[in-house]
């Protein structure tokens, strides 16, 4: 084999590279990463990295890299893939170099969605001093600095998990915080309106001015620096820092013309089968990949979650080797079962650990505590009373048991019995 190419050097890509080595693949592996940093862990960037100056950036380095710095990879950091060509046999890089590939792992992730240019009179938000999106370590360094030196209110646009975590961190730093959300309840698509309102209440109790059903229409600048924003209801707010957390867009432009199935809008991402395969010699993993979820009626979804990136990265490595009919030194190949774990994520806000497994449905029910409590568990049911989702506030044990109940297809009575 000439070698394998992993495109994307964040969580999913690094775990894919490690998975290839663990499976015994000892040929050349190229790891291509757009950022110049050693691969690092993103979840702390919206939480303790902002609030705690003690968080050393070395602690963020991803375990497989920290444990085995080289992993015997050929690194291409600070470099983007710009095309997948020659019937998937070549990965072309922004440096001008072309890598020959027997197999490719697509793990290019997502980037933050930006406010429309009209918000800043035709300028991109990145050209306005005081406007920040949060995805990368560079973003987090900038935001940490800005929150600490803010001489006015911090406005968070978007009350999704990134926005809510940044709002909580900014409050912990003593900032005045306004969080605006264009929907009538945040997280209505991820969870449900009632659970979303529990998040709103949590923030209001901690002094965040939460405004629902409004967006940011216009940013006012003075000498290139943001000074105020006008909301869609006409309200003008002074603003020292505007944090934009309005979702993400998968990085798939480089795959144009590759022949892979890349969707757009609500079908965005690289479509893969139940073995993470996008083509005979290509797998896609992490939040760029859209895969079928058998236990949720076969619907295809991208899963923008840490645990998914780890699991899918490791799995995708094995699946690629299986597809290539690779044989180890002992002559053994790799066999994979379909990939279909129950999604799971956590979010830390103030003293709350919010965990969610599965998917939300229009049939939620409290099974322990109530939404105003410090601790509660809420389950979401589907056809035949099977549990499809579990939301746990400060109830980690129940979250993990809930995830197993979803996996087992448990019914309502069992859920009350085990989680109530």
């Amino acid at each position: 084999m000439t070698g394998l190419v992993v495109v994307g050097a964040s969580l999913a890509g690094v775990h894919a590279a490690e998975g290839l080595r663990r499976a015994g693949f000892d040929g050349p592996i190229h790891l291509v990463g757009a950022e110049s940093h050693r691969p690092y862990d993103r979840p702390p960037l919206s939480k303790d990295f902002l609030t705690d100056e003690q968080v050393d950036e070395n602690r963020l380095v991803l375990r497989p890299v920290a444990e085995d710095g080289a992993l015997d990879l050929t690194w291409h950091l600070g470099t983007r893939a710009v095309a997948l060509s020659n019937d998937h046999g070549n990965v072309e890089l922004s440096s001008g170099e072309t890598l020959a590939a027997d197999g490719v792992v697509v793990a290019t992730g997502c980037r933050p969605r930006r406010l429309p240019l009209s918000t800043f009179e035709g300028r991109d938000q990145s050209d306005v001093d005081g406007v920040v999106s949060l995805r990368t370590l560079n973003d987090a360094r900038e935001l940490r600095h800005r929150l600490r030196s803010a001489d006015g209110p911090v406005v968070v646009c978007g009350a999704g998990f990134i926005g809510a975590e940044v709002a909580a961190s900014a409050r912990q730093l003593g900032c005045e915080v306004v969080m605006v959300e264009v929907a009538d309840a945040p997280l209505a698509r991820v969870l449900d309106a009632e659970a979303g309102m529990a998040v709103v209440d949590l923030h209001r109790r901690h002094g965040v001015d939460v405004r629902l059903g409004v967006g940011v229409d216009h940013g006012h600048t003075d000498g290139g620096r943001l000074t105020a924003v006008t909301l869609s209801d006409g309200t003008e707010l002074a603003c020292a820092v505007l944090v934009v957390g309005i979702g993400v867009i998968p990085n798939t432009e480089w795959l144009e013309g590759s022949g892979l199935t890349v969707g757009s809008g609500s079908d965005d991402g690289v479509l893969v089968d139940d073995r993470c395969r996008a083509a005979p010699s290509v797998v896609a993993v992490g939040d760029v990949a859209r895969r079928p979820h058998r236990r949720f009626g076969g619907t295809t979804m991208r899963v923008e979650q840490w645990d998914n990136a780890v699991a899918m990265g490791g799995y995708g490595a094995k699946s690629l080797l299986a597809a290539l009919e690779w044989r180890g030194n002992d002559g053994e190949g790799v066999v994979v079962e379909p990939f279909d774990p129950v999604p799971w994520f956590w979010s830390d806000q103030y003293d709350r650990k919010i965990q969610f497994a599965g998917i939300a449905t229009d049939d939620p029910e409290i099974v322990q505590g109530s939404e105003g409590d410090r601790q509660f568990v809420r389950a979401y049911f589907g056809d035949e009373d099977r549990v499809l989702g579990v939301l746990a506030w400060n109830r980690p044990r129940q979250a993990i048991i809930g995830r197993q109940l979803i996996e087992a297809g448990a019914d309502r009575a069992t859920v009350h019995d085990r989680l109530g």
Binding site: R63, V310, K353, R397
Partner: protein, 66 residues
């Protein structure tokens, strides 16, 4: 194999308990308890998976003779 948890990092996400309940338990007090510091060879794969899947990278392994 010896299981070591950095309790300054651990946030009781309970992922490890989901993977290896023989070794890890998060109780109702929300704290993680290690049930077996020296798990037998039959549990090593599960424990390694728990190390990999810990969102805080708080678990590590010391290879020992046993």
């Amino acid at each position: 194999m010896k299981v070591v948890v950095d309790f300054d990092l651990c946030e009781s996400n309970a992922v490890c308990m989901g993977i290896a309940p023989e070794v890890f338990e998060v109780r109702d007090d929300d704290f993680l308890y290690i049930l077996d510091e020296h798990p037998g060879p039959e549990l090593h794969d599960k424990v390694r998976e728990a190390v990999e899947r810990c969102p805080k990278q708080a678990i590590s392994l010391e290879e020992t003779d046993a």
